[in-house]
Structures are given as structure tokens and as C-alpha cells.
Symmetry: C2
Subunit: 354 residues, 2 copies
DNA sequence: CTGTTAGCGCCTTCAC
DNA sequence: GTGAAGGCGCTAACAG
């Protein structure tokens, strides 16, 4: 493997001169430039960026730490990151944490040792242990998707607004008993989605059984149930909620996995979607890979999210930390499909709708 | 950012001693070990792997160059790679080529400069330009999914066998006019799938119009049509093939995208699947993200593919190039679902089946 | 326009 | 058990 010294020797110049030609820096006479280029060609010289990084203290590499690349949402985010990075001459090291803080921590440590120029991180836990570690080393960091109790740049979707839109959509179809199948209480996105749901229902004057015991629940009421962001979670929550009398007329799945589990529960129960029960979800299923997209959803701009976060990170790399962190809130998109429909007035249902 | 010198100074030892403690190499007295460890802790020392790599000529980093991480098949492969790599202390740099040889070449050059220890490559073109470049630098390489005309390790699915199985499945359901909607002729996987299809039909005594002009085509015949591995391609090919009289009773999509396009064409034509026409595909749609998996497919073991390729690559890294390259052929799995059914005998169809 | 010197942070080699 | 010297490949800084 030839080094820059070999190139220099062959061209009859000093290494630094070869360096200047290779990096197009400084003045070099045309004739020597050509001699050096010929030597590079002849030797098949490949510059060693590791050595360069050691000097320059820049690796042109970013660390992308997320939960699971296999989830189409994260896949798309990752693609946005990679495109944004490679466009600016940066490479991306990919790490899957599977939501494990321990894994996350290990990855971050290694990436720190590898001297990545910056981090894109989806924190596995709200304690933000890893994020703090990164900041302590004063390595630039942009957090994606979730909030953390740290002064740090964040790019995330407007979960609350999206959930509000989706709930309004159901209200518009006449639904008054909408069950929210949520994720874990302590995950910020889950909490935000519940908040959006609650806001829409409050505006519509729909009671909350816990707080409004005295009110008339007959015109509809709220149902929030917490679980995990998984198919199993969705299945279990749907089963539970479908057993309530009177049955909810619509289910709001707080993410795509929950929606899939809920759908299975609905089918098992012999209920038609949307004939008997409407089903909507936060997060689209990958519509590019569906024979027929069916779910009414609020979709996140995943690609945008990755790209925006990367742009922000690269800005920090060139412009320095700046005075204070920024938070970017990406809008969500309501996509109405076949899984949501008008409420049916059931004959044996004493609660009349509208 | 403290260096090993700072640690050494604080512990009152030479840098090399600190190094020995940090890397757990050589003999160090327990008391000095503790002093060094205390210094590491106090300073928040993080070893610089860039410097280490410069010395050791090992970066513990692999380059993964594939077409598009957004395709669920590649996503799964990538996850297999990342798991296999991180399990052995390796990081993965991800690159999307979008099947562009130029992009691929640029990525490979950068990765070579970054001194990755090895490559996992899905070649964008059968000319294998980038693969050759890698081999020239004698950097270990494992090719994934496709064959290249080079002596190199390859891990791929048994495309021919899978296509054979899928075709046999259709034959077993009574289909005799099965149209193969293929990918580009020059892509090895497309060619292999056509070969498997042909083999099954030949065994079943089904004629090929081009070569068997004289034979009786009334008992069924072959239809192979070449296009692109895209939804548009699938749509166009399906439209074309459905216009033929007598109409094929089954469509074999050579990959998941083609299947989606073909399904759309079928629906537009007013045909029921599988009532009027059966549809099967090579490559599953992401079943984890479907409300109801519907397509009968031959699925590839994508995760396995990534993991196997990585294991092979890491073997080369530790054991050297070995005498000659290996080729691993992964089996495929036939998954029968709702999209394939028995042929109907149409009243106005003069070709009697069986 | 070109070259010399020095050092990035680490670890192999060889002494003690 | 420990340390001193030197160099991995490259490029600032400072001559000339």
C-alpha cells in the first residue's frame, strides 16, 4: 500500500508537495502537479484518511443511533440521514439499539472513541444518559423524534397536532366513543399523542370518566389505555377495549405496530373495519410496499426528519454550538383511507349519535 | 480532550504503562493499575481509536454498500449485517447506491480511504467495476445477492430453486398459462428466476412458443416478459400480458415491486385475485407491516443473508484470503397465502385444463 | 512555488 | 513490571 512518501519520491518532490497536489491546496507549478498526478496514477495511491483525521481531528463521519432500522419509519429516517450526510461528504455509521439503554450506551462510547464528528440520536430512554455522555465530550448532537431533559437540538414530529387532527377526523365522522390505544406513559411521543387526542375531545365536549364523574357519559366518553408500541400491545389493548359496553366505535392506534395488533383483534372478534369499528393510526404502514393501503393515518415526514436533523447537525459542525439549542417540529399529514367510516346507529344502542 | 499522556502524567507513570492498563495487555502491578484507572476516571479519558487504527492498521469498521436501505429486503439484510458486525466489535458504514455504478464507485473509494477492514457489496452493475477496485487494494470483500465475474466470496439466495418451487406450486394448482414478469435480462437474479421457471415448465411438458412452434400450445405455454424491478415495470408487464388471448391464469412477479404493480393492473382490469388470476411473487412484502399478508411468495432469508455474509467477511479478516472464494447459496421459503388458487374452468374458454 | 521540521495519539520493540 | 525511543501517514507552521 503506497503512501504519500512513495508518491513524492516517485515524482521527485517532498511529501508536502504531493499533499498539496492531492488536496488541491496551495500553489503548485503545473509541471510538478502533473508529475505528482502521474505518480499517484502509476502507484494506484489511495490517501489514508485515518492519518488525515488524526491530524485534522475531523473524521467526516456521523453516528446514527436509532432503535431498529427494520422499522420502516426508522428506515426512512435513516435514508434521509444518509442522503443528507453523503451530499456533504460525510459517512454514516449505523447502530440499532432495540430501545436498550445499555446497547445505546455501548454504541455511543465506541462512536466517541472513533471520533465521529457528530451524533444523530433517538434516545432509548428519557433519562438521556447517552445524550449527556455525548454532550460532556462536547461532540455535536441532534436528538431525533423524542424530547429529552437536556439543552440540545431536537427534530421531531408534531405528535400532539397529528393526534389532534386524527381525532378530529373521527369526530367529524360522528364518532363519540373513541378509544386511544397508547404507548408507554413515559415515552414523550406517546404522551404527546394522548394530549392531542384529549384536546380534540375536550373541544368537542366529550367527557372524561375519571375527571367528570358527574357528567353525562351517554353522549360519548374518553378511553385511554396505555401499553407498548408493539403488535402484542395493540392486540391486548384492543381486546380489552372492545369488551367495554357500549363498545367504542373507533380505535386510535398510537403507532403502526399497535394498529396491526388491533386490526388482528378486530378481525378475531368478528368485527368489520370500518363497518363495525373504525381504525386509525399514528404512523403510516409502508404504503410503497402494500398491495392496497387501507389504514387512515397521520403520517410522519420521516425522510424529512432524517434530512433536517442531519442538516442541523452539519450546521453545528461548521458554525459551532451557537447560543442555544433549536427545536424543529415537523408537521404531520392526515391521510384518509378506507379504515375509517361514519358511525352506524346500532338498533340496540341506546346512545343516539347526533 | 485528554490523551493517554495526560492519564499517564496524572498516574505518575509512562504513557505505555497507561496503555497497558487501558488495553489490558502485559503485566502491570495491581497498585499502578488502580492509579491509572483512577486517572482515567478522573479525566474522563476516552481512547482515540483513530490513532490506534493508524498504528494497528485496523479500523474495526466494515463498509456496507447496497442499493437502497428503504427496500425492506435490504433493510433486513442490513440489520443482519449490523448485528453480525457489532457482535464482533465491528461498526458498519452504510451506503445507498440506488443501483448507480457511479455512486457505488464513489462510495467505495471513500471507504477505501477510510481504511475499512472489509466490504459487503451488492454490485450495482454486473461489470463489477467497484468489486475489482476493492480486490485490487486487496481489501476483503463479500458480494451479496448477485453474481459477478470475479473470484470472490458470494452469499446469495437460490433464485433458480425458489422460482422453480413457486412455478411448481402454480402447476400444482392446475395453471398451464403462467406469465413470468421478469426483471432486467442482465441482472443475474432476474435471469436465475427465469431459469427456474423454465425448468419447472419444461418438466411439466409445457411448450415454449419461441422454440416449439410446432407443438400444441393448447395445453398451455410459456410467457416470459422482461422489464424493470419496479412497480411501473410490473404494471406495464401485467397490462401487456393480460391482453393476450387466451389470458394467462397466473402471473409470476419476479420481485415484490413487480408484484405490487401487477396487482394494481389486475384490479384496474377488473380481475379478481385469485378468482380470475393467481398472482405470486419472488420476495415477500414486509409481512410484519401488513394488516393481512395476502401474496403467495417465495421469501428470501434476508437477515440470514446479511449475517452469513458478515460472518464470512470476518472469517476472511482473521483467517486471511484462503485458497479460493466460497459461494453460499441460501434456500428460499415458499409461503402459500391467499393470492394463488386453483384454475377455474371458464365456460367460454376452449382450452380445457387437465 | 517548494521544502524542513514537527507532531496528531497510540503502541511495537527493545531495553532495564 | 516498567520505560524510552520511534514511527504509523499525514499535514500545519514556518521557512526559503
Amino acid at each position: 500500500m503506497p503512501t504519500i512518501k512513495d508518491v513524492a519520491k516517485r515524482a521527485g518532490v517532498a511529501p508536502i508537495t504531493a499533499s498539496r497536489v492531492i488536496n488541491n491546496s496551495g500553489y503548485v507549478k503545473e509541471s510538478t502537479r502533473q508529475r505528482v498526478e502521474a505518480a499517484v496514477e502509476a502507484l494506484g495511491y489511495v490517501p489514508n484518511r485515518i492519518a488525515r483525521s488524526l491530524r485534522s481531528k475531523r473524521t467526516h463521519t456521523l453516528g446514527l443511533v436509532l432503535s431498529d432500522i427494520t422499522n420502516p419509519f426508522w428506515t426512512t429516517v435513516a435514508r434521509g440521514v444518509e442522503d443528507g450526510a453523503s451530499g456533504q461528504g460525510f459517512s454514516v455509521i449505523l447502530c440499532n439499539t432495540d430501545e436498550s439503554p445499555a446497547k445505546e450506551h455501548d454504541y455511543v462510547r465506541v462512536l466517541l472513541q472513533k471520533q465521529v464528528d457528530g451524533f444523530l440520536l433517538v434516545p432509548a430512554h428519557s433519562d438521556a444518559h447517552s445524550a449527556a455522555l455525548i454532550l460532556k465530550q462536547s461532540v455535536p448532537l441532534v436528538v431525533i423524534d423524542r424530547t429529552v431533559p437536556l439543552p440540545v437540538d431536537i427534530v421531531r414530529s408534531d405528535s400532539e397536532g397529528g393526534a389532534y387532527d386524527l381525532t378530529r377526523h373521527l369526530l367529524g365522522l360522528g364518532h363519540r366513543r373513541i378509544a386511544m390505544l397508547s404507548g408507554p406513559r413515559e415515552v414523550s411521543t406517546a404522551a404527546d399523542r394522548v394530549t392531542g387526542y384529549q384536546r380534540a375531545l375536550t373541544e368537542a365536549g366529550i367527557a372524561c370518566p375519571e375527571t367528570d364523574q358527574q357528567e353525562d357519559l351517554s353522549k360519548g366518553h374518553r378511553m385511554v389505555i396505555y401499553g407498548t408500541f408493539t403488535r402484542q400491545g395493540g392486540y391486548a389493548m384492543a381486546k380489552e377495549v372492545l369488551a367495554i359496553t357500549p363498545r367504542p366505535t373507533a380505535l386510535f392506534a398510537a403507532n403502526n405496530f399497535i394498529a396491526i395488533g388491533a386490526y388482528r383483534a378486530l378481525r378475531e372478534t368478528g368485527l368489520d373495519v370500518p363497518g363495525d369499528v373504525s381504525l386509525v393510526a399514528f404512523d403510516d404502514l409502508p404504503p410503497n410496499f402494500s398491495l392496497e393501503p387501507f389504514l387512515t393515518v397521520v403520517a410522519q415526514r420521516a425522510y424529512d426528519m432524517g434530512q433536517t436533523a442531519t442538516r442541523q447537525l452539519l450546521k453545528r459542525l461548521t458554525e459551532g454550538p451557537g447560543d442555544q439549542p433549536e427545536e424543529v417540529l415537523l408537521p404531520t399529514d392526515l391521510i384518509v383511507r378506507g379504515s375509517s367510516g361514519k358511525v352506524k346507529e346500532l338498533s340496540n344502542d341506546h346512545t343516539r349519535i347526533r
